[in-house]
Symmetry: C2
Subunit: 138 residues, 2 copies
DNA sequence: ATAGAACTTCAAGTCAACTTGAGGTCAAGC
DNA sequence: GCTTGACCTCAAGTTGACTTGAAGTTCTAT
C-alpha cells in the first residue's frame, strides 16, 4: 500500500506515519522510486500504537514493547505494562465515580461533601508522577 | 501553610504550585510579606488535579471542571467527563487484556495470533485522536 | 547586623509528539 | 513536453506542562 492508503486506513496523517517510521515504530517494506510502500500488517501495528498512546504510554515505551531484542525480555515488560494499566484502570474508576457523584450531589461545594472527599482520598492513595519528566538523561 | 509544606504534602515541587496558581487551578489564601499562604483544602484540590492529569485530562479541562461559572454548567461537564472516562476505562481494559495475552502467548509473532488480533480490532473500534492537537486557535 | 536559607518574580529553556513549510522528484494525463 | 498532484527530505515551528536560572527580598539564627 502507499502512504496515502495507510493514512486513510489508520486515520493518521502521512506526516505522522513518516515520523513513526523515523522513530522505528513502523517500517516501510520498500520503495517504489522515492515512495514508501507498506505492507498491510502495518495497520495492526498502528492500531496498537494508537491504543497504547491513548492508554498513556509514550512512544518510547511503546517502542520497547515491540523490539525483538531478546527472547524473553518482552514478556516481562508486557506484564509490567499490564500491571501499570491495572493500576491506572483502578484510578480512573475512582475518578469516574468521583465525577459521577460530583455531578449528582447537591452540595454547593464538592470539597465539603464527605462522600466526595472519601473517594478522592482513596483514589489519591496510589498517586504517581506523570511519566514525562521522570527520565533525565545524565 | 506555606509553599514548602504544600509541596511536601502534595508531592509536587513548589515551581509547579506557582505554575498552577498562575493558571488559576489553585489559589493561595493570602500572603505573608511576599510569601504565599495556602489553606489546607488546597491539598484535596491538588490530589484531584493529579488524578485528573493521570486520567489524561489536560490542565485546561481540569480547570473547566472547577470553574463556578454558572449554576448548572459544571454538572453536565462533569457527567461528560465521566462518560469519557468510561470509554477510556474500556479501552484500557482491552489493552490490558491484549498485553496479558501477549505476555502469555507462545506465538513467535503476536501479530500472527488470532486471539491477539481480535482483541486489537475490538479495542480499535472506538479509537480517538489524542487531545493535544485538537484545538486550533483561529 | 549579617550570613544563609527559603521564598519571590519573570524570562527563557526543555521535552515529547507532532505539524508546517520550503524546495525537490517523479509518473500520469492533457 | 509540460503541468499537476502526490509523494519526498530536512529544518524549523508549535503546544502543553513544566523546570531552570538570574536577580532580588525577607525570615531566622548566630
Amino acid at each position: 500500500m502507499d502512504i496515502a492508503e495507510v493514512a486513510e486506513a489508520s486515520g493518521l496523517p502521512a506526516s505522522t506515519l513518516r515520523f513513526y517510521e523515523e522513530k522505528g515504530l513502523i517500517q516501510s517494506s520498500g520503495r517504489s522510486g522515492l515512495r514508501r510502500l507498506f505492507s498491510a500488517n502495518v495497520i495492526e501495528r498502528l492500531a496498537l500504537i494508537s491504543l497504547g498512546r491513548s492508554a498513556g504510554f509514550s512512544l518510547a515505551e511503546i517502542g520497547e514493547m515491540f523490539t525483538p531484542e531478546g527472547p524473553e525480555i518482552n514478556r516481562a515488560l508486557l506484564s509490567a505494562k499490564a500491571d501499570d494499566l491495572d493500576k491506572k484502570i483502578k484510578e480512573l474508576t475512582s475518578m469516574r465515580n468521583g465525577l459521577r457523584h460530583a455531578a449528582a450531589c447537591r452540595a454547593s461545594n464538592h470539597f465539603e461533601c464527605p462522600k466526595f472527599l472519601r473517594l478522592l482520598r482513596v483514589a489519591g492513595k496510589n498517586r504517581f508522577r506523570q511519566p514525562n519528566k521522570l527520565k533525565k538523561k545524565t
